[in-house]
Symmetry: C2
């Protein structure tokens, strides 16, 4: 029997500083219903989906940036979304800023949660590859102070059994690192879900603008192909208070082909009827890990962090 | 001072069973001169560049397939090429079937050699990711008996200092595995050279034909971008005694962009004037390995070979 399921990606247009979380959650719920109406069993929402991309701004005191963070799961702001999804029977991935009391102190992470179609919380992922800097680089258009507001994730790259296959989660900059997807695929993940907030201009370099979208797409397509898995990628995009971010939300098949993509930089739902066994032929042949991987020659990948030129 | 150098990729059209090695080496020399005439300091030749892609045929006795192998470096057949390259002052990568007495026995590898512009042999690479099977699958169009004729390479993924930057080598199917390029990049490789023989039709599955070329290109482009390195990829292509292989020889910039590619399935030289520092901005920022890689979360990549679904 074919394993087919309609998946949706819900792209968010800009969220401005002045927008309330209630207003944002209403937009998420509208897209959730739209996805359900098109037959989707799962929806992927973006990274930090409840607020503007606040790491572009400099704050010093926790009381000044705590407003962007969520406590509890669901947090009070999330409750209407969780409730609606449970009633509709739609599972989802949602990115948010997490504040948690853990190890006797307050900790903050850039987090995503996976909720099943039955409303059960399947688990969390906390972003590992935090881009940017802790201190400002001096150009407000390009600030990306994620290392200031978040700790590096402490949950590894967990994967979760769902009625539609094994799902792995990552967030934004994680997608540029092939290690991210390989670790999830080695656990049997068949579907990667991720959200992102990616500036339209490169933060650190006068790089041609077309490369921003190309690198995004290249990263997702190679991750899909090399791991024979589906990729669901949701942007928050458009200009938030004047700061532009790319759209390009997409679903990528295990063949590496982009099978649907958003064309706007606004709220937009895309869906695709996914054959979850499409990657099976690749896993049996060219990417049969057990038969072909040669871990005895991969040692440097986990032995050293940076480049070390041999003598 | 900008570090610029013209690199060439020399694609080979078909080599039939009846073709002699001398005739093939004459073709290689012609392309070497063509490359030199266009200012190239380096040429990348294909995998198993001296004979037809013989692993598509079934042989039992070593005396029946030894004719495809080279002994010594340069082997007698290679001497004219090595001599011409030294005289022209052009460095090169050459793929060949290697037969060697080692560890008290005869060993065979799918090998490449890197020779400097001064004629000095810089080193060898022996293919690690051998595709296909040891025993025939029963369909002569798709046989790929590399595991029959070659041992898995025993040299890791070595890299070599050259006057034009640090060079890493791999071969054909290695390019589908991100581990290949990461191990070389962690040693400081800035230029990846590789040759390939890739059937136009998928060996194991009725896969749409356009995917063969797409997966080739996707693998090279992601390898280049994710490691901020140049990729030089040389096909042996066209129909060898009726068995078709893809062309698509290309040079890929550290941005992941294909900057030049072959259009034929015949002998064809492509060149590009490469800025060897083009990847430097990526290595300083998004792909500053030392600052951003999180090896504590990559453990599975080297701990387990196949998929192990968590309990």
């Amino acid at each position: 029997m074919p394993r087919r399921e309609v998946f949706a990606v819900a792209q968010l247009g800009p969220i401005h500083l002045a927008d309330t979380k209630d207003a944002v959650v209403a937009r998420l719920i509208e897209m959730l219903r739209e996805a359900k109406g098109r037959g989707a069993g799962w929806v992927t929402f973006p990274e930090l989906a409840l607020t503007t991309f606040f790491p572009r701004y400099l704050y010093d005191a926790p009381e000044d940036y705590d407003v962007f963070f969520e406590e509890g799961l669901p947090s009070p702001a999330m409750v209407p979304l969780f409730e609606e999804a449970r009633q509709l029977g739609v599972g989802f991935y949602l990115g948010y800023a997490e504040k948690v009391e853990q190890d006797g102190r307050t900790r903050r992470f850039n987090t995503s949660v996976l909720v099943g179609p039955d409303g059960k919380i399947l688990g969390q992922y906390r972003k590992i590859h935090l881009p940017g800097t802790k201190e400002p680089i001096g150009d407000p258009e390009f600030e990306h102070l994620e290392k200031r507001y978040f700790e590096v994730g402490d949950l590894g790259f967990p994967t979760f059994a769902t009625p539609s296959g094994r799902v792995g989660m990552c967030i934004c900059n994680d997608r540029r690192w092939p290690e991210t997807f390989r670790v999830m695929a080695l656990q049997g993940a068949e579907i990667f879900m991720l959200g992102y907030n990616t500036p339209t201009r490169n933060i650190h370099h006068a790089e041609p603008a077309h490369l921003r979208e190309f690198h995004h797409s290249l990263s997702l397509q190679s991750a899909a192909y090399q791991n024979a898995s589906w990729v669901m990628a949701a942007a928050k995009c458009g200009a938030e208070d004047g700061f532009a971010m790319i759209g390009g939300s997409m679903i990528v098949a295990p063949t590496g082909e982009v099978v649907t993509r958003a064309t706007s930089e606004e709220d937009e739902v895309i869906t695709y009827d996914c054959d979850l066994d499409l990657g099976a032929y690749l896993r049996r042949t060219v990417f049969d890990f057990a038969r072909h991987r040669r871990i005895e020659h991969y040692g440097l990948i986990t032995q050293q962090t940076g480049i070390e030129v041999p003598k």
